[in-house]
Amino acid sequence: MISIIDYKAGNLKSVERALRHLGIPCRITNSPSEIISSEKVVFPGVGAAGKTMEVIRSLNLDTVIHEVVKRKTPFLGICLGAQIILDGSEEDDARCLNLIPGMAKRFPHLGMKIPHMGWNNIEMVREHPILKDIDPEAQFYFVHSYYPEPQHKEHIIATTHYGISFASVIGRENVVATQFHPEKSGRFGLNILKNFAEWNGKC
């Protein structure tokens, strides 16, 4: 059973629908015991870092997430979920979850449209089970104005180019996160969710 963390915002249901479509058992929940006892955990995110961290702390989900990660349960962050697992974010100057050292930064003004919205490539920096069978030319759907910047190179799994090159898939041990939305990225996005469902948390 995969738990999708319910933090009263964001588009949790689209992740649930995609997993259901793949025949993967899942539930949307904010119950600490349910989350801690599940085989895998997804943190999908849409919204602002500051507000989201506030809600997470008020529901005591920060402690729950740390417990999940400590237990080596495979954990997938999506979009904002790839940012709040870092130490902090420039958005609202939010203090985040410290699961991977680094910061979420705002895209610089280089004459491109912000948010970075639409389909873009990812370039694999290192192999990871969740990117198994992904065509190198596959594109994924992004919508974001901030991007993850891990402090250590070894936590970058794939990068994407939008004016600058940024980390679009990051990971550390049993934690992995995509800045794009696999649940909205067609066939290859579904493939990533399937890979996650089959992942034992080791890499």
Partner: protein, 259 residues
């Protein structure tokens, strides 16, 4: 590299996809869920469902359509038409749409944009705008005026000013429809698209006038559109999405490859 998006628009009336034919009114052209699935399989990047149901008691049907579409396709899609309140927005998003498009209601009540952006996030709020060329007067310095009620009522509001204001209020994207080009199949209105796309920092979807793949090339390369909306050119099976994409790729326009 970020791809230029091809967005297919389906007008939905009482649960059926419809197409306006001059002097004949609307004719049914198919089931929106089936059509959405077909375009998804052909490699469309995004879909828009525009609810043109007139009677209010049949408006809930669109929610069922959205729910069915969301179960079957895994790309972003938005819903527009008749969205007047935060509650309308909530119902559509909750049924599985990625974004909501507001047009008339936002002109009459701009707070709908700021409130919607605050509650659901900027990325959810698309400003739909119908613009029509007019004589340049002090109130309309850009020479393009905003019309509402499906292009039936001029508002005396400048299209460029309105686009900038909507961006400031928190719109995440603008879908710009040219009333002059709409339905002509003669190509997008490049002047207004270029002007607005060059003046806001949020993405702009060009709409109205697409009849052949060359029109998409032009609006991407000459007018700086981030996405192009098409309808009849695929609904009548004159072109398929994959054909349009092959053409654009050959012309050097970055599009998402169909693999």
């Amino acid at each position: 590299m970020l791809s230029k998006r091809i967005v297919v628009c389906l007008d939905v009336k009482e649960g059926k996809t419809t197409k306006g034919i001059k002097f004949k009114g609307n004719v049914d052209i198919g089931d929106p869920v089936t059509m959405a699935r077909e375009y998804y399989d052909q490699g469309v990047d995004e879909l828009v469902f525009y609810d043109i149901t007139a009677s209010s008691d049949k408006r809930n049907i669109i929610i069922d359509v959205v729910r069915e579409v969301a179960k079957n396709i895994f790309i972003p899609f938005s819903v527009g038409g008749g969205i007047r309140t935060l509650d309308d927005m909530h119902r559509v998003l909750n049924a599985g749409a990625e974004k909501i498009s507001v047009n008339t209601a936002a002109v009459l009540n701009p707070e709908l944009i700021s409130e919607g952006a605050r509650i659901f996030g900027k990325q959810c709020i698309v400003l739909g705008m119908d613009a029509k060329k007019t004589t340049k007067i002090p109130e309309i310095p850009s020479g393009y005026e905003v019309w509402i009620n499906g292009g039936r009522k001029p508002m005396g509001v400048d299209a460029l000013e309105w686009a900038k204001k909507a961006e400031g209020l928190g719109a995440g994207e603008i879908c710009l429809n040219s009333i002059d080009a709409d339905g002509t199949s003669d190509g997008y209105e490049l002047t207004v698209t270029s002007m607005i796309s060059g003046s806001v920092s949020i993405p702009v979807i060009a709409s109205g006038g697409a009849g052949k793949p060359e029109h998409l090339r032009d609006v991407f390369t000459q007018a700086g559109a981030d996405a192009a909306l098409i309808a009849s050119m695929v609904h009548y099976r004159d072109y398929r999405i994959d054909e349009i994409k092959s053409f654009l790729t050959a012309e050097g326009v970055p599009v998402r490859k169909i693999i």
